[in-house]
Amino acid sequence: MPKKSYRQAINEAIAQEMRRDPTVIIMGEDVAGGFGGSGEQDAYGGVFGVTKGLLGQFGAERVIDTPITEAGFVGAAAGAAATGLRPVVELMFVDFVGVCFDQIYNQAAKFRYMFGGKVKTPMVLRSMVGAGFRGAAQHSQFLAPIFTSVPGLKVVMPSNAYDAKGLLIQAIRDDDPVIFLEHKFLYDTEADVPDEPYTIKFGEAAFTREGDDLTIVAFSRMVQMANQAADVLAKEGVSSDVIDPRTSSPLDIAAIVESVERTGRLVIVDESTPRCSLAADVAALVADRAFHALKAPIKTVTAPHTPVPFAPTLEDAYIPSAEKVEAAARAVLASSARAAAE
């Protein structure tokens, strides 16, 4: 199977869906880039080149550069979705959601319910998440919990190129508003990605490692850290399930509960800040639904309760690392051993 980057996988998913369905359009700031300038028209293709080439393939009626007015164009995407298009709208960095959040959570997410089930709003909002690029406090946040908390939204966060393509095609075909969170650190990671279109169902977790001693749940880029930690532990004879839920809403809680019932131990890795995080969310569900299987405290590994700092020394300490996952896992293992010995 051909190796493709996460970036390519996303571009291919959009291109294939645009080819298949004439109602799919893309819009956002510099998704082409160069309109109204003195040079080329597809100059950017998105700030990280994800949508490069789509303008040439589909033209300016379907690849729409917008002014810097996120509330305006995200709201327009919602309105367009409710009236017959399938817009894939780009919010460049997820940090910018504060200027257009109303159109997402009060409008797009609630149309269907408020209007008695008589409307659908098939839009996809693509946005970049995550720290590590020295982008500082307003260009590095994860923010997935905020979207996950909103009834009416689906929230997707692929951890690899293969999932990115399949989940994005699903998102575009899906009849509900979908928030599609691309981790900027993953754009250059590669995986085997089929050329044909394919979909991955929402709410179905992937197991990236399998084992019986420990369950590690990790989201988005954190799956890498979880895998690394699991591999280290495996060498010492501790085998782990590493579960990538892939979508936080809907969440495959059944898979997580099933795993914890086997392992009795849970660590959750989440790049969010800790309060009301995805990690807390999963922990709470498990502390209710799989309590009797638990042999040890549930440990979460998250960013600290701070904005994202600029300095590399600080930012590196901000991001959950494989070492921290490992330490949390060891703490859980030790605690259950102590409890068993008592």
Binding site: T23, T66, A71, G72, G75, A76, G79, R112, F115, G152
Partner: protein
């Protein structure tokens, strides 16, 4: 003026429907039969109807918290609306939306909106659909003078100009956003020292006019031009309709911020229905008997709607968790 007799009667019918509907809602609300908040459109009938008489069911409108009048102007079923306002299962939103969220997509009514300034971007999207799908539709955003200050309104206007969309921004200047007067809250003033909302829209790069929002014919004519321009690919326009509400911001508002004189003047001299009747009678376009017949017919309709609503069941509690998604695992 190209309006036929039938159209004139229809225009009057919708205005009368709005008036009767709102007065009845006011009465029923005061009797404790309607839950929540209601913001009445009475007094502004000529604005909504003057606009919507230029539209078909395929065209789009989107409205505000003060949405009953726009729904009726766009020919939504008053029974469906009354059921909704009474929070009944058979309402246009099956009782889940209420007064501030009535929508009827079969009539191109994309929804009332309880977020001030929430709807202009949505209308831009509907206009984008129309342009992309080349179906010749137009999309109309209704917003108040207060909403005109929200950033979303400006963003939507600029976006519509940039993309040359068939969008029409109707700003209904009824003098107040809640209790705050437009003379205070809109900084831009015209040569006459009055708030200049049309000038602001013109500044955004689109044609904009000010019209007497109590005069159906003035509104209709301004909208006719804007709609023609939009359908011909000429891009967006703005229309500021100067009108006044008969009631308070919400039902129950003591309106301390308005003088007694203002309130008396509104009913005496700014009643769109009276003005319409005078105009069509003078011009011998319709006779009093025809108009009286409409009044009687509408009174029956509204009454029937209330009776239906009162008799209808509330949504079953099992509806609480339905229709959040089209599908969800």
């Amino acid at each position: 003026m190209q309006l036929s007799r039938e159209q004139l009667i229809e225009a009057y019918r919708r205005m009368r429907r709005i008036r009767d509907f709102e007065e009845r809602v006011q009465a029923e609300f005061s009797n404790g039969r309607i839950p929540g908040f209601c913001h009445l459109y009475a007094g502004q009938e000529a604005s909504g109807v003057g606009i919507c008489m230029n539209l078909t069911d395929d065209d789009y409108i989107s409205s505000t918290h003060r949405g009953h009048g726009h729904c009726i102007a766009k020919d939504c079923s008053i029974e469906g609306m009354m059921l909704e306002i009474f929070a009944r299962e058979g309402g246009l939103c099956r009782g889940k939306g209420g007064s501030m969220h009535i929508a009827d997509y079969s009539k191109g009514m994309l929804g009332a909106n309880a977020i001030v300034g929430g709807n202009p971007p949505i209308v831009v999207g509907a206009a984008l659909s129309a342009k992309t799908l080349k179906n010749g539709r137009v999309a109309v955003s209704f917003a108040g003078d207060g909403a005109a200050n929200q950033g979303t309104t400006f963003e939507a206007m600029n976006l519509a100009v940039v993309l040359k969309l068939p969008a029409i921004f109707v700003i209904e200047n009824n003098g107040y956003g809640e209790g705050t007067g437009v003379a205070y809250h809109v900084g831009a003033k015209g040569a006459d020292g009055k708030p200049d909302l049309a000038g602001r829209a013109r500044g955004m790069g689109m044609p904009a006019v000010n019209v007497d929002g109590a005069d159906f014919f003035a509104v209709y004519e301004a909208m006719r031009e804007a709609t023609e321009r939009a359908r011909a690919g000429g891009g967006p326009s703005a229309i500021v309709t100067e009108c006044l509400r008969f009631y308070g911001h919400f039902v129950g508002d003591p309106q301390l911020y308005r003088s007694k004189e203002e309130l008396a003047d509104v009913r005496a001299n700014r009643d769109p229905l009276k003005i319409f009747r005078a105009r069509v009678s003078e011009a011998r376009l319709l006779d009093e008997a025809q108009l009286d017949a409409v009044d009687a017919e509408v009174a029956r309709e509204v009454d029937a709607a209330v009776r239906t609503a009162e008799a209808a069941p509330f949504p079953d509690v099992r509806e609480l968790e339905t229709d959040v998604y089209v599908s969800y695992v």
